[in-house]
Amino acid sequence: MTPLELTGSLGIVGYGLGAIGPGIGVGLIFAAVIEGTARQPEARGAMLSTAFIGFALTEALAIIGIALAFVFG
């Protein structure tokens, strides 16, 4: 085996790299929800609805990653 040679499933490595961004993004979204709820508890319902929409949009990238990791080997 030559040094620095990657064997195995490159798709899963790609998915792992691609899940960094959405992981940070989802964390930021819900951090904002928690802080906003701490400042103004009455706004919790509206904030949570927007948070779920934002969560689905951000999570889409990670989910596309895992799906394409299977499709492309």
Partner: protein
């Protein structure tokens, strides 16, 4: 030390993968029905259920609503207020049947993934996601073109107001790519990938747990199999949540795209 064997490769275990989603036609002998597999059957039953539900809902208008009428009216007014009126604006009634139909159809098709008799979400076959997205894409572009004319719609979609002229060569290709080419891709792939990955996750935990528990020897594996099967129920609950959420997200984004295609300049 007979129970502990360290890392044992799992011979005889077929990991679930893309092949788990290939389903043969339901009537293999009949010559005209090669397209009729499990996905098509589920989608047709979903179509029937949704059509019957909303037709019945439109007829029975008792003053004091029964439980079924209450659920139907709650769903209808939720879509009408949150998506139609707040997102699209003042002529949202034209698009309300589309939003209601999209939400109901995608919800029922997603929930086939947790329904005991089927256990397969229809959108885990990518063609279903592509078809729904093609409808939405043609629709929101046609709505914009009908309102602004072809050139006017392209200008409206690619040039945000207030951008200085020297940025046009940068902004126009980027916005064109993002609004007209990438939107259908992400809309369809989001629905498909969520259903595909969710179903695959359930398959991994259940099939893996069953293999570990019943078909492998070491006691460590059997205990791990029990935990895997228990955890698969938690994943199942997550799947229910994700399926309902994805149906809602598809409808929300459709309303958003229609709204941004018809938005007036301030």
């Amino acid at each position: 030390m007979s129970g502990w064997t360290g890392m044992v490769p799992m011979e005889g275990f077929e990991a679930p993968g893309v092949e788990s989603f290939d389903f043969p036609p339901l009537f293999p002998g009949v010559p005209g029905l090669e397209w009729f597999n499990r996905y098509m059957l589920q989608a047709l039953v979903a179509f029937g259920l949704v059509a019957v539900f909303w037709l019945v809902m439109a007829r029975k208008n008792a003053m004091v609503p029964s439980k079924g009428q209450f659920v139907g009216e709650a769903a209808y007014s939720f879509i009408r207020n949150t998506l139609g009126r707040d997102m699209i604006g003042h002529d949202f009634r034209k698009y309300l049947p589309l939003l209601i139909a999209l939400f109901s159809f995608i919800l029922v098709n997603n929930l086939w993934g947790v329904f005991p008799l089927t256990l397969l979400p229809t959108a885990s076959h990518v063609g279903w996601a592509y078809g729904l997205t093609a409808l939405v894409w043609v629709l929101y572009n046609a709505i914009g073109i009908r309102k602004f004319g072809f050139g006017g719609y392209l200008r409206h979609a690619t040039v945000p107001p207030g951008v200085p002229t020297w940025m046009y060569p940068l902004i126009i290709p980027l916005e064109f790519l993002s609004n007209i080419l990438v939107r259908p891709l992400t809309l369809s792939l989001r629905l498909f990938a969520n259903m595909f990955a969710g179903h695959l996750l359930v398959l991994v935990f259940v099939l893996g747990g069953e293999y570990l528990l019943l078909e492998s020897e070491p006691i460590v594996n059997k205990v791990a199999g029990v935990f895997s099967l228990i955890f698969s129920m938690a994943i199942f609950g997550l799947e229910i949540f994700v399926q309902i959420l994805q149906a809602y997200i598809f409808t929300v984004l459709t309303a958003q795209y229609i709204s941004s295609a018809t938005a007036e300049e301030h």
